[in-house]
């Protein structure tokens, strides 16, 4: 017993090391994955950015997660969406669903493009990434509701939302809508592609949900002063 205690007091490194810890020493800096950030010449950078560059020369940097790449096709919004679709850590299946969704959207749009008359061809958007971003933008709510207690009762008070919260709500609504309101035999990618296409032209159930939230916030305008931040 004495041997084991004295063994712990010596300087030691753990035998099993995770590549990326969730809790890093605050000394560590975030990695910069995008190629464009490194190709900018010295003159273009503002003084803060120049300071950052100097810091990176001598400070340690956190390991990048396996979900980010420096390829042209890396999209942080898309990666976040894939992570939200993922269940039980099955990233492969989530990524597969997402690629099938994008392919399905592309197929529908290209079909429409080839069948459209000459004048209408310019208006049809064939890029599924653009449609995905447009749909998410259209689904983001502007104000949210918070439950605040005042005088023993709880009131739904309209509050401003941060960008992250708005993006999260849009994605969450989209995914729950596609999981719950679909026929048993429809595939997830089919339903997702239908909803994304509808949302990109401001139709569909997710847009309706956003409008209902806005209406509730408008109805509870009187309680807005209950917010203290």
């Amino acid at each position: 017993m004495a041997a084991s205690i004295s063994g712990l007091l010596k300087p030691w490194t753990p035998r099993v090391c995770l590549v990326r810890w969730a809790r890093y020493n605050p000394y560590y800096l975030e990695p910069e994955v995008r190629k464009e950030a490194y190709s900018r010449p010295e003159a273009e950078l503002s003084p803060e950015e120049q300071e950052q560059r100097e810091l990176k020369a001598h400070r340690p940097i956190k390991a990048a997660t396996s979900g980010v790449t420096s390829s042209l096709f890396d999209d942080p919004v898309l990666s976040k969406f894939v992570n939200m679709i993922m269940k039980d850590g099955n990233k492969v299946l989530a990524k597969e669903i997402m690629t099938q969704t994008l392919e399905h959207i592309k197929r529908k749009q290209v079909e429409k493009y080839h069948k459209a008359p000459e004048g209408k061809k310019e208006e049809i958007e064939c890029n599924p990434y653009f449609i995905f971003h447009q749909a998410l933008e259209n689904c983001k709510p502007v104000v949210g509701l918070a439950s605040i207690q005042k005088g023993g009762k709880f009131y739904q008070v309209p509050i401003p939302l941060t960008d992250n919260r708005r993006r999260f709500l849009a994605m969450k609504w989209m995914i729950t809508e596609c999981r719950d309101n679909k026929h048993r035999r429809t595939h997830m990618y089919e339903k997702l592609s239908q909803e994304l296409l509808a949302a990109s032209i401001k139709e569909g159930n997710v847009i309706k949900k956003k409008h209902e939230l806005h209406k509730m916030a408008e109805a509870n305008r009187a309680y807005a002063h209950y917010r203290w931040w």
Partner: protein
């Protein structure tokens, strides 16, 4: 013309997407888009859409199948992924490949009095065996031959929902569903020729149903479609009639037999009998009759086949089938790759920041 507007539209999408998609302004990407304009698609579209007139100059280019032919020649012949592409792009574009052209040139010079020559397309997975087979079948159809196309022989030896003991020979098994489906498609493909060919024998199906000698082959086929139980035997009868008649001087038709997945006829089947023992392919009526066609003891036509998807690296050709001329699909030429990249770009399939910069082999 429409082509210029297509390239303009492509450029517009590329720049439009770039501003939204990538957060920083990629100067290098802008430069490449402006410098390398997408080449006009006319370079990769073959001018000649008739398989009979296609020459070696068109290898690597895409020719369009007329929409009327797709429904008649290939009611079941095209792979499902390709059918999806037809639906998306609203037209069927097939690449002209050298093995297909070689087989077509042999077919043009066949001597119909000699026994049938058998050709096999083999190669790696994804090298274009099925599509070359379909190209050859299209050629045969445009020349007015009778086409016997089995899209995938593997479908006959696995996942059989209904298996009946054969009424003709008790040791064999019938597959009514697959047989009726094939007869229906056979009728769609060969409608004009069926009324001209007459049967040489009397066939008795049940106590009251029979087909007279000298009746049109179309009637035999209709009998098989109407009476599902005897459809496998009808298939056998049709094959026998065609085999006997195709080489005769008085018959004016040529026969082309095209089988995809021919290894299935000699391999194993996954169908089980009631006592859980496996069924040999020889015990299936459809396969038994088809094997007779694969021998070259008949004249007046030729047969093309391709091994199935199971066999990837090695071309597995059964020694009993004794092919005459193997066609190699293995190596993809460089212009093959270029046009197969340009084709999706010009059909608005590939767009976005990476479309002009994809590496070509």
């Amino acid at each position: 013309m429409a082509l210029h507007r297509l390239s303009f539209r492509l450029r517009q999408t590329v720049t439009h997407v770039r501003s939204l998609h990538t957060s920083g302004c990629g100067q290098q990407q802008e430069a490449t888009a402006v410098e390398s304009e997408p080449e006009p698609f006319s370079v990769f579209r073959a001018q000649e859409n008739d398989p009979a007139c296609q020459s070696e100059k068109l290898i690597g280019q895409y020719y369009t199948l007329p929409p009327a032919h797709i429904k008649t020649v290939f009611p079941h012949g095209l792979p499902p992924r390709y059918q999806q592409q037809i639906k998306t792009f609203n037209e069927a574009c097939m690449m002209v490949r050298s093995p297909a052209l070689e087989v077509i040139s042999y077919l043009k010079k066949t001597d119909f009095s000699k026994p049938a020559v058998r050709y096999i397309f083999y190669g790696m997975k994804g090298s274009g065996k099925t599509m070359s087979l379909c190209h050859a079948v299209h050629f045969c159809y445009t020349q007015g031959w009778l086409v016997l196309h089995i899209p995938d022989a593997h479908l006959w030896v696995k996942n059989c929902k209904e298996l009946l003991p054969s009424s003709y020979n008790t040791s064999r098994f019938d597959q009514p569903l697959q047989a009726t489906e094939w007869l229906r498609n056979f009728r769609i493909t060969n409608e004009p020729l069926l009324s001209k060919i007459k049967t040489k024998q009397r066939y008795i199906w049940t106590k009251r149903e029979f087909t007279e000698e000298g009746a049109a082959l179309g009637e035999l086929v209709d009998q098989g479609i109407a009476r599902v139980k005897s459809s496998s035997d009808v298939v056998g009868a049709v094959i026998k009639e065609l085999r006997l008649q195709s080489g005769q001087p008085e018959s004016d038709f040529r026969m082309a037999v095209a089988v995809d997945g021919v290894n299935a006829l000699w391999g194993r089947s996954t169908i089980k009998k009631e006592d859980k023992s496996s069924v040999d392919p020889e015990e299936l009526t459809l396969v038994y009759n088809l094997r007779k066609l694969m021998k070259n003891d008949w004249t007046g036509g030729s047969s093309e086949s391709g091994p199935g998807e199971q066999h990837r690296s090695r071309p597995q050709v059964d020694s009993r089938s004794q092919p005459e001329v193997p066609e190699d699909q293995g190596i993809r030429w460089s212009h093959d790759g270029r046009s197969s990249h340009q084709h999706p770009v010009s059909f608005c399939w590939c767009s976005g920041p990476a479309a002009p910069t994809v590496l070509l082999p």
